[in-house]
Symmetry: C2
Subunit: 217 residues, 2 copies
């Protein structure tokens, strides 16, 4: 019984995901599902890449189980953002994405969907996005791809954040690559986005997304 | 319909949680449900506190969605550990805990249940534990208690890990306390358990758990 209900829920989500995909396509929106653990640096990443994508409008659909801290911070930087509170739910689904998209009401843009901080559950929910971007942070450890296989294999692209902390935490880049490559061929970018220091590595991610954006019909 | 099924699942879990509680009580086991985000330093914390609790036997029930890296590392250090793979599930439930407890088969001990790295879902599942210990790490950021309210209010005790990184990541201790105190009166301990450096702060956590252990009938 449980499995059937889950399947129905997932099927319902799939249908809405297809509708979202059409909605984004019609409006020439590259929708990026940004996933990662709590504190992986997802909001900081959005701030930094929005600056780098200056010629393309950027919107954000923020997901959090509570609070509107992230959307408020982004709005302060002039980034158009809507906030979804999931009221305890551990992931975003396609239904709420459409609400968020309607709220920011954009066209010809890159829209980041900042998922709830969770390295597990969001990998089960297609949101109708074009790109699945996983932010994994250095302090989480170099063994994460071995342990969180569904998420690491779900991602189209992986951004390793907080690379300035590699030495401080004894991060083994080789072991991280080994874990990642065991489950995924996704391109890997490394960034350092520490406050008060020049952003490193973000241009390459912006170029990757620009190319995806320009490839859209 | 969905809600009813969820309720039944949770009710089933509640019943098994009570059975676990009796099982642990009969064997004079202090069961500690150790929760935290991926990379919060849960396994490192167990290694360090096991040394500090040297006069009390320590066992570990390890939960991961995949791999047995953590249990293997603990076994290498002579800590009795069983590994539960949740096969994608985002939390441990009471049923698997009993399996893990049977496997390590201990009495008169402190048993750590290392939950799946997830700052959301585990807060919905009572495992029959005596203590709910949340490991929150400095690099996750000082705003986490504002955002992950259910988990922070669920914890009986909070251990802030990786405190040696406070300066490197610009962690605002006051803001962290503010978020925590808005939802919880749980005692807060701060630890630094960096490899190659003396463990700082762990004795106070060990004393706290010893007291809980000695208070058991």
């Amino acid at each position: 019984m449980e499995v059937i209900i889950m399947k129905e829920l997932l099927e319902g989500n799939e249908k809405l995901a297809e509708e979202n995909r059409e909605y984004f396509s019609d409006r020439h929106i590259l929708a990026v599902n940004l996933m990662g653990a709590p504190g992986a640096g997802k909001t900081t990443f959005i701030s930094a890449i929005a600056k780098e994508l200056s010629d393309i409008p950027v919107g954000v659909i923020e997901g959090d189980i509570a609070s509107s801290i992230d959307a408020e911070n982004l709005e302060k930087q002039g980034i158009h953002a809507s906030q979804i509170n999931t009221c305890g739910e551990c992931h975003l689904d396609s239904r709420v994405i459409r609400d968020g998209a309607d709220q920011i009401d954009m066209k010809n843009a890159i829209v980041f969907i900042e998922n709830v901080g969770n390295l597990i559950c969001p990998a089960e929910f297609d949101l109708g996005e074009s790109v699945r971007l996983l932010a994994a942070s250095v302090p989480e450890g170099d063994d994460k791809a071995f342990k969180y296989v569904p998420m690491f294999s779900y991602a189209d692209v992986v951004v390793l954040t907080k690379c300035d902390l590699k030495e401080a935490v004894g991060f083994d880049s080789e072991n991280f690559q080994k874990g990642l490559r065991a489950v995924s061929q996704a391109p890997l970018f490394e960034v350092s986005l520490k406050k008060g220091q020049p952003a490193a590595g973000i241009k390459a991610v912006a170029d990757y997304l620009k190319e995806k954006y320009n490839q859209m019909k």
